[in-house]
């Protein structure tokens, strides 16, 4: 597509936005009526449905040129930091003009992406469930149940400001310098300590602590203190 996005795609996203708003989504990157931006060669139109304690849902439409006058388009359903994602539709060799049939298919795909992302949010099951020894299963489910029950209890409370989440997360690593922490472990610990927060802020705090080198990433989604 080069420097300019196809006009028909822009018009389509303007048509799509109100339909997604009915499902509780809003355009993530919208200013002065302009939706989306070019993400390093791919046009990215993303809508987000925020959930107070549970992870936010995302429905994204991506488009890029094949080098000629044809496009590749994809509709994705996602959950927070891509821990769960689902490609809903992939369209190859779409003409820039987008005939009526393609437009209808795209709208259907994006509405499906929005619905599916909410399903992903409800379907959080530890992927290691089947491989864990039985004596550890109880502990893992306990974490999920605690998070869910505390979330139910705190959803009416004032959400902890991000800076306080950051400080509390930092404190955890100071208190337990030899422990490996997953994002979920930090969330549960903060909830148990009376910091109503969500995975988005926990993820941001962990990334910021890693960027300032106070903690290190052991593997994807697992961190530990650098001060051991």
């Amino acid at each position: 597509m080069g420097a300019r996005s196809p006009l028909m795609l822009k018009r389509l996203t303007q048509k799509l936005s109100p339909q997604l708003e009915e499902l509780g989504f809003e355009a993530l990157d919208e200013l002065d009526g302009v939706i989306g931006a070019n993400r390093h060669g791919v046009w990215d139109w993303t809508w987000i449905r925020r959930r107070r304690i549970a992870p936010s849902c995302y429905a994204s439409l991506y488009g890029w040129s094949n080098g000629g006058n044809l496009l590749t388009l994809e509709a994705w359903a996602r959950l927070e930091r891509d821990e769960q994602r689902s490609l809903v539709r992939h369209f190859d060799d779409v003409a820039f003009e987008l005939d009526q049939e393609v437009q209808s298919e795209l709208i259907r795909a994006m509405l499906e992406a929005a619905r599916r992302s909410a399903y992903l949010a409800e379907a959080i099951v530890p992927s290691f469930f089947e491989e864990e020894p039985e004596d550890q299963l109880t502990g893992r489910w306990r974490d999920v149940e605690i998070a869910a029950s505390v979330a139910d209890a705190v959803h009416r409370l004032e959400r902890t400001p991000y800076q306080a989440v950051y400080s509390a997360a930092r404190e955890l690593f100071t208190e337990f310098p030899d422990q490996n922490w997953r994002n979920q472990d930090v969330l549960v610990a903060l909830l148990e300590r009376g910091f109503p927060t969500d995975r988005a802020d926990v993820n941001a705090a962990l990334s910021e602590l890693a960027s300032t080198e106070e903690i290190e990433r052991v593997s994807r989604g697992v961190y530990r203190s650098r001060n051991r």
Partner: protein
Amino acid sequence: MLGGRTTIAPIGTPLRSLPRVNNLSEQLCDRLLLRYLLQSDVGTFLHGTSEPQFVTPTPYEPDETIPMLALPPSAGPRTFVLLLKPERLHDVYGPRWVQFGGGIEYILFRGFSENAIAHVAPSLPDTRPARWELEVH
């Protein structure tokens, strides 16, 4: 690292809630911003663009661009990049953590002009400025 204890907005912060950046060079400690490109886009941005763009201050290897910049895998890793001079950029919002990625992004809401593209070689007399994409290895 970003300078001056810059606050990086969490994932999911909408564009309209992001701060408009007035001290971009200071935040970046005079580093350049990077706008990665698909091979098919090489040559099409050398006169700038007025459309909104995501950019990042962090250099990545091609294989890192997909996960760190939250790019759809089907489009392939990025093997070309344009370097942009922060002092020539306007209407910049951010920074924000990249959704689904691990990197940092700014949004150039009105794109960038031709003269925001950094020179990548000394200009010779009587020739056009040496502004073009670099290949990423």
